[in-house]
């Protein structure tokens, strides 16, 4: 997550710590898929940064997944934050083209806002 200027990076860092704290086990049990997130600052596909949320092992890392992730998501920084905070329904995002999916749809369906810890406000 270091060296990324995306807002999403802050959230993913928090998810990383969250998963490491033991909360990960439950998610691994409940979901058990590997997701790759291709997040772009403004337009999907332009200057994208790649992160992996591995809910098989319970880890988050930067860079493409070695192997085949169960599902890959493409979205912009803001849309990812909106989805992860519950502002934007992933299904609606998909219909509106704000979210593109590659891979297994049934794995993608389990990618819901409750995976993410909510950032607390200072």
């Amino acid at each position: 997550m270091e060296g990324s200027n995306l807002k999403s990076a802050a959230l993913l860092e928090q998810l990383r710590v969250h998963l490491a704290s033991g909360a990960g086990e439950e998610l691994v049990e409940k979901i058990g898929f590997v997701y790759q997130l291709n997040i772009s600052p403004k337009r999907i596909g332009v200057d994208e940064e790649v992160f992996v949320v591995d809910l098989r092992k319970g880890v988050v890392s930067k860079g493409a997944y070695e192997g085949k992730p169960d599902a890959t998501f493409f979205f912009t920084d803001d849309d990812f934050l909106a989805i992860s905070s519950g502002k934007l329904n992933p299904q609606m995002a998909f219909i509106m083209g704000k979210l593109k999916i590659k891979g297994s749809i049934s794995a993608a369906q389990k990618f819901t806002p409750d995976i993410f810890p909510k950032p607390s406000k200072l």
Binding site: L81, G86, M92, K98, K100, S106, S120, K121
Partner: protein, 736 residues
Amino acid sequence: MAMRHLITGQGNCAPDGASSSNPFGNLANAILGQSSKTQAIKELPGSSVNVPTTSEFGAAAPLSTIPGSENEFKQDQLPLARGADFIRGGPSHDWVESFRPPGLPEFAGPDAEFKEFEQIFNNTGPTFGPPVLDGPPQRVLSGVLRSFLSSGQAGVPFQPVPVPALGLSESDKQCIRDRSCIMARHILADQPEEYIQAQVNTLLHSLDIDSNYRMKGPMHGPYPEMEEYWNQSQSAMRSAPMHNAADKWITEFGKQNNNPEDWAHSFEQQYGPSGWASEFEQHQSQMAMTGGVNMANLAAMEQSRMLAQTLASNNDPKFQNSKFFQFVSKMSRGELIIEDNQVKQGSASQSSGWADEFQTQHNANANSWADQFVHEEMSQGADKWASEFSSEYNQGGLNDNWVDEFSKLRVDDEWAEEFSGGAFGESSADPWVDEFQNQLSASKQNSGASRGVYVFSDMNPYVGHPNPMQEGQELFRKGLLSEAVLALEAEVLKNPDNAEGWRLLGITHAENDDDQQAIAAMMRAQEADPKNLEVLLALGVSHTNELEQGEALRYLHSWLQNHPRYGGIAPPQPTDSPYGPDVIRLFNEAAQMSPEDADVHIVLGVLYNLSREYDKAIASFKTALQLKPQDYSLWNKLGATQANSIQSADAILAYQQALDLKPNYVRAWANMGISYANQGLYEDSIRYYVRAVAMNPKADNAWQYLRISLSNASRADMIAACDSRNLDVLQKEFPL
């Protein structure tokens, strides 16, 4: 020649006069009879979704089917004449006074109030001098409201009083109901919720107002139904101004969206009970259906399958190998479909990469769907809407609110982009979209940047108040945050250059858990007073909360540059993108210079939050707290940092400190909920979220988190109440 004529129209295809039972005829009808334009593709993927046909659009859809919209529509239709009286008044006393008819002398001066208090202390029972209950209705009402307020302030239960018929209009009742709920919650913040409810109900009952009406925040714009739609458009794309034609469409979407958190569930509903993937592998033909082939094709497949069976029973090898038989059997397997008299390759034959398949199918469908929507729109008078829009727009005043509302949601450009180029494809780029984009660019020029624009509340009762600044400070001090916002808005409307007004407004929004508005207000404060340290710090904090690192760093850096004591440390020239570690180093120097300055430690704590060095941030905030133990916002900062570094148990202790110092601190209530939710204690988190939204019904974040917690706690039964923002139901169900 059309295929229909080839088969049905010519008798020589069906000798023996068997045209009615002619399988070819049935086939042709199945394919062609149903492929007319209106029936072509009317469905979102998944056959369970019904998009109404054109004729259904004609009949006015019942407005009440839109969840949560009932009140707005009612209110909109009723005369607001007397409500206006009410609106011009102030809070508490003004709130009472606003019901006093202009001609009458003030009902009770300060002396009268003292008498009331004396009575409280002299009498053993909690009785009040019964208010004057004769005279004109407004005077009676004023008396009742006053005695309700003073009973709340004195901490004794309100006694129901018999009141003559007042002849209040529906809008008056709505106003009284809404504001008494909000006021009671604030005045009686230390009391249990049932008590507050009981008090309000007693008051409402005395006034013969139905207390079961849904409690709402005091804000209703001139177009409440539009606001409702726009508020919800974050999760569902809803287009408010075209309600007549789109009502059903909106309802449809609403239904689909009932439980978006349960994505899997709704997908299952749409695509059949068993997993879509296995469905595909086992039944290619069904895949075609779920992927989006319409019912006409399905019927055609059914027909052709029957036909193929009939044909297959003929043992003639010559016939078995005929191209026609192959054609029909291919159709029966869905490998070929017929659209607009043209044979096309069906989807089922391309079995590679089914996700891609889905996407293309989906896009194809979305195109047609969008197309159809646009056509229907046009026929239903989209032009009229557009011209209505522009004429509204020229009226200025009212419409600016709407534009602000619009830009607050920051959906404008993306949304338009989506419509013109996104998933709906080029096919929808027709006059309607152009019209829309023209209007958009016009509105953008007027409203400036879509972000950082302060959005004022509609119908502010403090406008015209003699000293809204003082009133705002007073309300803020008492912890009546939502009321303080209104008073301070009135102040900055009156004196747009009042930096202190904007600053306090920003602080109030931050405490009310609304960083967008806080940032907008603070930017105005900074415009008026560019070197105000508190403003710069607040901007740094709010941008940190919004995860906007660059902006946050910039403001915190200029805090140091503008500080009279530490200005020497930081190079004075402005830098657009200061480097995080450098800024932290400078602040550590400042902390060494004067270790007793709590503010330096606070900024350091925020900076370490930005760089996600939470342990250092916690240490900085703890140092600052030793210097400023009564600073409730500092306790909240410590708690939030601990929560973000997944020390939720410690965080809850810190929040508790903050709330002990400031019971109406909405942000701390919401943070409390987050900490419980992050520990998986969803039931507990719900109670705190509900408390936060009860205090500030505009706290969108808390509403969204509440929804997530409800679904995680398997309380899907309460999600409808959450979506319609029904505080009554939620508070009853989840008392704190």
